[in-house]
C-alpha cells in the first residue's frame, strides 16, 4: 500500500467540517501555520491533564526545537476546571535541560460541538489542524499517567522524517490487560486488513496532515463514531485508505483506572459494533487481502514491570454458563445451531477443564460478523449477547496462560491470529 491514494490537501478549497467558536477562530487566526499539532480530548480530567500537557510541552521543546507547534485541548464541557489546568500547566525547561521554547508552543483551549464523545473532540482537533496546515499531528489521552516527552517524538517523528501517514502506539501491557484487543480487535483487524498493528484501539496516535483531511472528509461525524469507536475507526480508515502506517514503542501505558464493574456489555457493543460497521464499509478492501504483514515498529524496546491484574476466572465462567443456559435461542439465531452445539458441553465442565478452543472462537466472531451484516436481529441485542461468550473466551485465555510470561502469552495471541487468518476464506465466501 502506498500513500498515493490519500488526496493531497488543499485547504483553500475546503469548507469547514465543523464550526469553531469565535474565540477559537480568533486564536487560530493568531497562531497561523504550524508544523505540528498535538491534541488532547478531555472531559473532567483535572487530576491528570496537567501532567499530559507538561509532557507534551517538554516533548515538543526537547525534540522539535525551533519548529512551530500548537497544543489543542478539545474539551467536552468539564465541570472540574480541566481547561484551567491546561492553561496553568507549565514546564520547568531548565530542570529538564531544555533551552526555553515555551514561547513557540501555543495552546488553544476550545469546547467542541456535536454529539458528546471523543470522536467529536477529535473532529474539532482535526479541523484546527487543517486550518493551521499542520504537517504532523498527534492525539494523546488526557488521563495518562505514564506519558513522557519521548512519546511526542515517537508519535510525530515517523511522519515528519519518514513520510508515514499514521503512527499507532505499541504499549507494554500485562498479559491480561486489553483482553478485547487481544481476543477480538487485534486478530480480526490484522486478518481483515493485512497489517499487524498490535494496538489498533490504543488511544494515542500520530497522523499526517493529509490523513487529517481524509478523516474530516468522511461522513461519519454524526454517527456512533462521533461518540465512541473513534480509535478503531482512525486505524481502520488509515489502512483502508492506503496510508503508510507504522508503530511506535511507547513503553507501559498507565492511565486512570476506570471502574472494572462498569458496563462491559456496552463497551463490547461499542468496539465490536465499530469493527463490524467498518467491515461493511470496507468490504472491497478486506475481501482482497489474503495474508498479514508485519508493521514497522519504531522506538527502543525494553522490558518493564507492569501493574498486576487480578482476575476472577470462576465468575467469568459462571457468566458464560448462564449465557449458555439462558441465551441459547439467541445464540443459535446469531451463530447457528452447529456452533452453539459445540459450546454446549462447556455447560457442565469444571473451571479447570473449561476451554473455548481457538477455532471455535474464530467461528463465533465470524458468525457474529455475518449475523450483524445480515441484520439477523437488532444489532444492539446481537452485540450485547456476545458478552458472556467473550467472558468465556477470556477465562480460557487466562487458564491457558496462567504460568506463562507476558512474552509467552503473546505467543498464544499469535496462534489465535493464525487461526483467524486460516479461516478468512470462509468469512469472505459467506459475506458475499
Amino acid at each position: 500500500m502506498g500513500s498515493d491514494t490519500i488526496e493531497p490537501s488543499n485547504d483553500q478549497l475546503k469548507s469547514p467540517s465543523v464550526a469553531l467558536t469565535p474565540e477559537t477562530e480568533s486564536l487560530v487566526q493568531d497562531v497561523g501555520d504550524v508544523e505540528m499539532l498535538v491534541g488532547i480530548p478531555s472531559y473532567n480530567n483535572a487530576d491528570t491533564i496537567a501532567h499530559v500537557v507538561r509532557a507534551v510541552s517538554a516533548g515538543l521543546a526537547k525534540y522539535f526545537p525551533g519548529q512551530r507547534a500548537v497544543l489543542v485541548n478539545s474539551d467536552g464541557g468539564s465541570s472540574d476546571g480541566t481547561p484551567d489546568e491546561v492553561s496553568r500547566a507549565v514546564v520547568d525547561f531548565g530542570a529538564l535541560l531544555i533551552s526555553d521554547q515555551q514561547s513557540r508552543l501555543q495552546k488553544i483551549i476550545t469546547p467542541y460541538h456535536g454529539i458528546p464523545g471523543k470522536g467529536s473532540a477529535f473532529r474539532t482537533i482535526f479541523e484546527i489542524a487543517r486550518r493551521l496546515n499542520a504537517k504532523a499531528c498527534a492525539v494523546v489521552d488526557s488521563d495518562l499517567r505514564s506519558i513522557t516527552p519521548e512519546w511526542i517524538e515517537l508519535l510525530l517523528r515517523p511522519i515528519l522524517d519518514e513520510n508515514y501517514d499514521y503512527v499507532a502506539p505499541y504499549y507494554l501491557r500485562h498479559k491480561y490487560d486489553g483482553t478485547i484487543t487481544n481476543s477480538i480487535v487485534y486478530p480480526l483487524t490484522r486478518t481483515l486488513y493485512g497489517q499487524r498493528i498490535r494496538q489498533p484501539i490504543g488511544g494515542d496516535f500520530g497522523f499526517s496532515g493529509r490523513l487529517t483531511d481524509h478523516y474530516l472528509d468522511q461522513h461519519v461525524w454524526e454517527s456512533d463514531v462521533a461518540r465512541f469507536g473513534i480509535d478503531i475507526w482512525m486505524t481502520t480508515e488509515a489502512i483502508a485508505s492506503g496510508a503508510r502506517v507504522c508503530q511506535s514503542f511507547l513503553g507501559a501505558k498507565i492511565h486512570n483506572p476506570k471502574d472494572p464493574a462498569s458496563d462491559l456489555a456496552a463497551m463490547l457493543m461499542q468496539v465490536l459494533g465499530a469493527v463490524f460497521a467498518l467491515m461493511e464499509e470496507h468490504h472491497g478492501v478486506w475481501s482482497r487481502v489474503h495474508e498479514s504483514m508485519p508493521v514497522k515498529l519504531y522506538g527502543f524496546q525494553y522490558e518493564v514491570g507492569v501493574e498486576p491484574v487480578n482476575v476472577n476466572v470462576e465468575r467469568m465462567i459462571a457468566s458464560f454458563q448462564q449465557g449458555l443456559a439462558d441465551l441459547t435461542p439467541i445464540w443459535e439465531q446469531v451463530l447457528g445451531r452447529e456452533t452453539v452445539a459445540e459450546l454446549k458441553p462447556l455447560q457442565a465442565v469444571s473451571a479447570a477443564d473449561f476451554r473455548i478452543p481457538d477455532d471455535l472462537w474464530v467461528r463465533v466472531i465470524y458468525e457474529a460478523a455475518l449475523a450483524y451484516h445480515a441484520r439477523l436481529m437488532p444489532r444492539e441485542h446481537l452485540l450485547k449477547a456476545i458478552t458472556p461468550l467473550y467472558l468465556g473466551r477470556t477465562a480460557t485465555f487466562v487458564l491457558e496462560t496462567q504460568g506463562l510470561t507476558t512474552v509467552e502469552a503473546e505467543g498464544r495471541i499469535e496462534q489465535l491470529c493464525l487461526a483467524f487468518e486460516s479461516r478468512k476464506s470462509y468469512l469472505v465466501e459467506r459475506w458475499n
Binding site: Y176, D177, G178, T179, I180, T181, I201, P257, K258, D259, P260, A261, L264, A265, M267, L268, V271, V309, N310, V311, N312, R315, A318, S319, Q322, G323, D326, L327, I330, R375, L376, M377, P378, E380, H381, K384, A385, T387, P388, T394
Partner: protein
C-alpha cells in the same frame, strides 16, 4: 266474476310484479357488486401476496420472530399468505356490505353504516395488538440479554414478565379501542399492574434486602471499586 278475478287475484299479482320489477335492478346491482368484489378480492389478494414475497416480508418476519410465534400458535401459513388472505377477506366484506346497501333496505343500511363505522376501531385494535406483540418481543429479548450480562439468576423470569407486561398492556389498549367492557378492562388492568408492582416491591424489599442494600451502596458510593472481583481492563 271477472271483477272478482281482477281485484282478488290479478291486482295483487300485478302489484307483486311491479314490486319485483322495482327491486330487481337493486338485486341485480347487489349481485354484480358482490361478484365484482369477489373477483377484485381474488386478484388483489394474490397481488398483495406476490408483492410481499418480492419485498421479502417472510424473511423480515422470521428475523422479528413472528414466524416462530405463528408456528407456536399452530398457524402454518407464512405471513405473506396471511396478509394476502386478510386483504381478500377485507375486500369481500366491503363488497358484501356495499352490495347489500344496493338493496336500499333500511335495516341493512343501518347495519352497513354501523359496520363501516366500526372498521377503523377494528383496524386500530389490530395494529395495537401487532405492535404490542413486536414490542414485547424486542423488549423481552433486550431485558433477557441485559439480565444475563448483569448475572441475575432469574433472567428468563424477568424477561418473561416484561413480555407479558407489554402484551397485557397492548391487549387492554386494544379492547378499550374496541369498546369492549371498557371500565372492566381499565380497572382490571390497573389492579393487575398495580398488584404486580406492589408484589414485586414487597418481594424485593423482604426477600432481597441485602441485594437492594448492596446495589444502593454500589450505586451511591464508590465502594464498587473496592469490592470488584477483578480489575481486568478489557480495552
Amino acid at each position: 266474476m271477472k271483477d272478482f278475478l281482477e281485484t282478488a287475484l290479478l291486482a295483487p299479482l300485478e302489484q307483486l310484479g311491479r314490486q319485483v320489477l322495482a327491486v330487481l335492478p337493486n338485486v341485480l346491482a347487489m349481485g354484480i357488486i358482490i361478484l365484482f368484489g369477489f373477483v377484485a378480492a381474488w386478484g388483489l389478494g394474490h397481488a398483495v401476496e406476490r408483492l410481499l414475497r418480492v419485498v421479502r416480508l417472510d424473511q423480515l418476519c422470521n428475523r422479528l420472530g413472528i414466524n416462530a410465534a405463528l408456528a407456536r400458535g399452530g398457524v402454518k401459513s407464512d405471513p405473506s399468505h396471511l396478509v394476502g388472505r386478510a386483504a381478500y377477506w377485507i375486500i369481500v366484506a366491503f363488497s358484501t356490505v356495499a352490495g347489500l346497501g344496493a338493496l336500499n333496505l333500511q335495516p341493512v343500511n343501518q347495519f352497513a353504516q354501523s359496520f363501516l363505522a366500526y372498521i377503523p376501531h377494528i383496524l386500530t385494535a389490530g395494529v395495537i395488538v401487532v405492535l404490542g406483540y413486536l414490542l414485547s418481543n424486542f423488549i423481552s429479548q433486550g431485558v433477557l440479554i441485559a439480565a444475563v450480562n448483569a448475572s441475575l439468576p432469574p433472567a428468563r423470569l424477568i424477561a418473561m414478565m416484561s413480555r407479558w407486561g407489554v402484551q397485557i398492556f397492548a391487549l387492554a389498549m386494544a379492547l378499550e379501542e374496541l369498546g369492549i367492557a371498557q371500565s372492566v378492562v381499565v380497572v382490571g388492568f390497573g389492579i393487575t399492574f398495580g398488584g404486580i408492582v406492589f408484589a414485586s416491591a414487597l418481594a424485593f424489599g423482604l426477600g432481597a434486602k441485602d441485594l437492594a442494600k448492596d446495589y444502593l451502596e454500589r450505586t451511591l458510593s464508590n465502594r464498587a471499586r473496592d469490592r470488584a472481583p477483578d480489575d481486568l481492563r478489557h480495552l
